[in-house]
Amino acid sequence: MKRLVFRLAAIATIGAALSVTTESFLTLTNLLNVLRQASLTFLIASGLTFTVLTAGLDLSVGANVGLSACLAGTVMQSTGSVALGAATGLVFGAGIGILNGLMVTLLRLPPFIATYGMLWTLNGVTYWFMGGDTIHGFPAGFRALGSGYWLGVPVPIYLMAALLFAGVVFTRYTTHGHEVFAIGANREAARLSGVPIRARLNLVYVLSGAMAGLAAIVYLARLNSAEADIGEPLTLPAIAAVLIGGTSLFGGVGSLLGTLIGALTLTLVVNGMNLLAIDASWQPLVTGVIVILAVWIDVMTRRRAEATI
């Protein structure tokens, strides 16, 4: 818990600084706007958190969102049924997750190189499949999922809350959740305690893929169109959110609440930069610095912890 308090304090300071410098920051609509943007990053980052908990990583989430959104959009257009389209997106997202899982478990490939190869393969397939076309014009009801309001609160925020709840239940109140943490903390000890390593790793990568599929549907609704390069700018912020949230790359330590806080922190910074009219080309620089800072803190806390063994 100590780690989360430290991160909440960080958000409060950024928020305070912004509210002082721009008067439009501390308005309800802006806060809701930040929450909605953060909820989209959180969608992808939540699935990613599980892979990082097992000391692995899924670099293909961005490309996964791109392909799943295009496929879902195409099916939605041709069959006219939103449900079928959404199902396609989720199924394809999870399917890519299964492929990643198999590469990590059966072929025992280092997770980040396997998913890095998958990232470029998916990019190629999406470009070829779309061939430059875009699919647009989805029914209003569906678009509400992305940009609609319910009781004055943007819909994606409910989705974020539901996902957070499901994630916390999974990590704290299911045996599989505990086993995922154990695999990350000490994989050999978990194996020798009868934890089915392969099954859990596959589960984790399927979750990551499925979350990317879900995010694809929400982006589809929010953007009201499917384009080939929709997923390209999403991978780095998702990884940054997980790391800023305190989930350690070395596995076994972290939480979904932390990832949510990470997503919020990142979105706040970008929102702040926009409000302060800072040129957009500074954003990759700032994100890069934040990622390194977050991981450095993770390494330092880990070193201090290890010193006591």
Binding site: L57, A114, W120, T121, G124, G288, I292, V295
Partner: protein, 312 residues
């Protein structure tokens, strides 16, 4: 490492297929085309081989190359001499290489996250310096050098060959090559042998940065301008070439010769697909699939060697 890795046969097969189907593929000019196009990639893939052999990864090479190119072009535009501007570009590369080294070796940050961070920083700097514009007016010293044909070969091919020979010499005939394999294979024994392992480990990343600077010379000469996002994504082709060439992530297994074959395989694949007029979107997917296939082959061959080792 001594025998031709399996990928050598794939390269020969590709060449045969493209010669049969693609008209104009098997001509001298097209051969030079492949050579010129692959030379920049080889300059990135050579140091990337050493990085991967030391169980690391450098995602920032593409962005650092673009940044170095932009710095080079800006200096040339303001009238600086070619040698001075070139030294500055290579210095920028070395600086980012050193930063990567510090983050990975000094602070112990996992390599791909550290270099993901520096990628963002290098790309950000390039965008900020140029405001997104490409930098032209680099004068004619660099383009002339690039168009020159020492020994009858295009300049960039000569540079790439020279780089390969230098790397091969240092790898074979100086301790550096053995130490890189030791850092990946059994780092503790290197330390116990009294070698300052950290120094060499940082050196690997500095070398990657320097080569990105050198590659920037070629790319800026080729485009006679610098562009902030010119080489984004090239680091993936470099990593793919190294893996396809048989270098593995564990235990310091690596071969520079294999990497050269990997680079040529990708060069031939791209060129051939162009000559065959296959839709280019398939080209990106084909390189991704090629990498995964190479990884699969390696993981199948590998366990045999790994089991022996574990029982020792």
């Amino acid at each position: 490492m001594r025998s031709i890795p399996g990928i050598g046969y794939l390269l020969i097969a590709l060449v045969l297929v493209f010669t049969a189907f693609g008209s104009g593929f098997a001509t001298v000019t097209n051969g030079f085309n492949i050579g010129v196009q692959s030379s920049v990639l080889l300059l990135l893939a050579l140091p990337m081989t050493l990085v991967i052999m030391s169980e690391g990864l450098d995602l920032s090479m593409g962005a650092v190359l673009s940044l170095a190119g932009v710095v080079l072009a800006t200096l040339l535009m303001n009238g600086r001499s070619l040698p001075a501007a070139s030294v500055a570009a290579i210095a920028v590369g070395a600086l980012f290489g050193f930063a990567n080294g510090l983050l990975v070796v000094g602070l112990g940050i996992p390599p791909f996250v550290a270099t993901l961070g520096t990628l963002g920083i290098a790309q950000g700097l390039a965008l900020v310096i140029t405001g997104g514009q490409s930098v032209v007016g680099v004068g004619d010293a660099l383009p002339a050098l690039y168009e020159s044909r020492p020994l009858g070969l295009p300049f960039s091919i000569v540079i790439a060959l020279a780089a390969f020979l230098v790397f091969r010499f240092t790898f074979r005939h100086t301790p550096f090559g053995a130490y890189v394999s030791a850092i990946g294979g059994n780092r503790e024994s290197l330390v116990l042998a009294g070698v300052k392992a950290n120094r060499y480990h940082v050196g690997i990343y500095v070398l990657a940065g320097v080569m990105a600077g050198v590659a920037a010379l070629l790319l800026t000469g080729r485009m006679s301008s610098g562009h902030p996002t010119a080489a984004i994504g090239m680091e993936f082709d470099a990593i793919a070439a190294v893996i396809v060439g048989g270098t593995s992530f564990e235990r310091g297994k690596g071969s520079l010769g294999g990497t050269v074959i990997g680079v040529l395989t990708i060069g031939v694949l791209k060129n051939g697909l162009n000559v065959l007029e296959v839709p280019s979107s398939l080209q990106v997917a084909s390189i991704g699939v090629l990498t995964i296939v190479a990884l699969v082959i390696e993981s199948i061959l590998e366990p045999a060697a790994r089991r022996l080792w574990r029982s020792a």
